[in-house]
Symmetry: C2
Amino acid sequence: MAANNLQMFQYIKRDTRDFINIDPLQTAGLLTDAARDALLEWGDGYSVCDYCNGALDLVKKPPIQEFVHKALPEFLGTDAARVMNGARESKFAVMHTLASAAADKNNYVVMDAWAHYSSKVAAERAGLEIVQTEKPEKEIMPEDFQKAIEAGIEKYGKKPLLTLLTYPDGNYGNLADVKKIADISHEFEIPVLLNGAYAVGRMPVSAKEFGVDYIVGSGHKSMSACGPVGVLGVNGEEAAEQLFRKSAYNKVKEVELLGCTSRGAPIMTLMASFPEVVKRTQPENWEKEVENARLFIKRLEDEAPDKFKLFGQNPHNHDLMFFEAPGFFNISEKAKRGRYFLYDELKERKIHGIKVGLTKNFKISTYGLGAEKTNFVADSFIDILKKYDEI
Amino acid sequence: MAANNLQMFQYIKRDTRDFINIDPLQTAGLLTDAARDALLEWGDGYSVCDYCNGALDLVKKPPIQEFVHKALPEFLGTDAARVMNGARESKFAVMHTLASAAADKNNYVVMDAWAHYSSKVAAERAGLEIVQTEKPEKEIMPEDFQKAIEAGIEKYGKKPLLTLLTYPDGNYGNLADVKKIADISHEFEIPVLLNGAYAVGRMPVSAKEFGVDYIVGSGHKSMSACGPVGVLGVNGEEAAEQLFRKSAYNKVKEVELLGCTSRGAPIMTLMASFPEVVKRTQPENWEKEVENARLFIKRLEDEAPDKFKLFGQNPHNHDLMFFEAPGFFNISEKAKRGRYFLYDELKERKIHGIKVGLTKNFKISTYGLGAEKTNFVADSFIDILKKYDEI
């Protein structure tokens, strides 16, 4: 391997680092100052293992035990919790546990129509088939789950191992009626998993209040942590024991966690950002984020009527928004750089987060932007339409 | 949750950070300067996803595609490779793939007697039983594998799905004859997985030269990367296609990887340290590490005969060493702080890495210490024996 070629892997600048990033993946993953400190202090390989006696979640110094066994379950509203390598790894752990414990093969999971691809891949990896709710006009209703469960029972001759709800879904930022969906599922005696990758760490959520059995969250997506890292909570002693069952070969190691999960900077950044995350998910702070998203929507609707159409719930209840933008699409058909014009225009304004080449439909998020930056993004959208004579 | 309690999770100092760390887990996981730069630049959540078009391993900027599809397979000596969440996750991916593809249940894996617990837990999670080679007096011989495979066939009435060799084992730092073991396994038409968590990134290894089918390495343990991160290589087109099979739900996402694995600072630090890792694994540089370990052993053997006994191969061929230390054990029986004396004495000398309370047996590593620090550790061991009148 030629040494000079290898230099390409070093000292790479991230040119979007100082941009306003409106990619929903990124807005709530920005590190806090405390997390940035943790990153440098704990960056080395296996740093947190210096004081480990065999079980990661029981490390007292740094206070991982206090975090995993006290702070995190309280935050998630669960009886037990663990730090995992991500939300998807958490979903797989739950599905794999249930699939492994099932008496027979040929099992399945019921999911909402807008389930994230990683929920489907987790089921697929666990050898489970999938029944999804029908694609709704606007939002997923509890009765859609009722129908999907009944359709599953009809098809497979047995109930599903799990019901999974994406809250909010990652396309439209819609918040379904989780309590009712959990109730319906429980009437069939099916456990419920809430995929809160865009909720946990952004907004108030409590698995107990919602009545769900499992909840997963994403550290890198919504808890201002350096990824990959996620959280997994479970309610019910029996379910917790099953999910976190110990190895037959090593009495302190948990099988679904392969012994240990996140044990370097990711868990330390997750912990370091946690006080800020707890604060920002207080109802009064989350309301400000919702207001901010609504302000953005209102500005576009007022100042460029017919040029932007919000999909999904309106008034909107989350920072993740999906727009149809016929104005931008029109421009793309005549602009010199075609469908790349929007990316270029936004880049010039130091805004990043709409995928290169998208103009007709895109999702964005205003999480953590505050009024000033949110208005700047709205101004930019309007200005671009004006520049190309669309309004 | 009381806000003042949450402060405990922030600004935690790592008091061992400036110590000489002789824990084998830590010596080759220390970040390089380039990795430290990458950590800060790419620390935010999902940072590398800013330019992703759906497949992490195909991201061109930063040059992840170049790393995953060119540099890494060349480095590992494999036809294909991926970046994973760790070595254990890689082992599970291989075992789970083979178990899922097997026509029947009730399958097993053959492993060396010193296999890491995570290899066993990976098999357990994949629903596979384990047949281990017999515990040898000193080192694992190819015929031990021959016997274990034959015993497995006798017990299960069929060959194992996989042979796994730990290279070196994590207890004694012994290097088994991998080529012969691979040959024996292949005679039975059983694929071979090399667990190189303490090899890949420390010493020259090539899956092709060894004749193994799968190889796994640990980024945080041996490649100077911020964990959790690991590497997985595979030889043979068919095996690669099976292992990296695509989802039925999403044509670019790989099932065993749950779509995407490491995608923030861990992969960027792995890449940033890679040029240094390639350099340090050149034969002439690895020889220096072996010489250094031998120097350490010789000093203890010469200056405190009968007080230290090296287990395993001697002359030793790896930086990971396991000692029986009757001198330290004697002291522990009379010292004020009992078996904690050694930890205290080393801490005073700013040396970390022997688990609190251990005196009679322990493993250490001199990787990357160089002659000066290695001599300082040897001096310290001798001084402590002298201080307590053991020599």
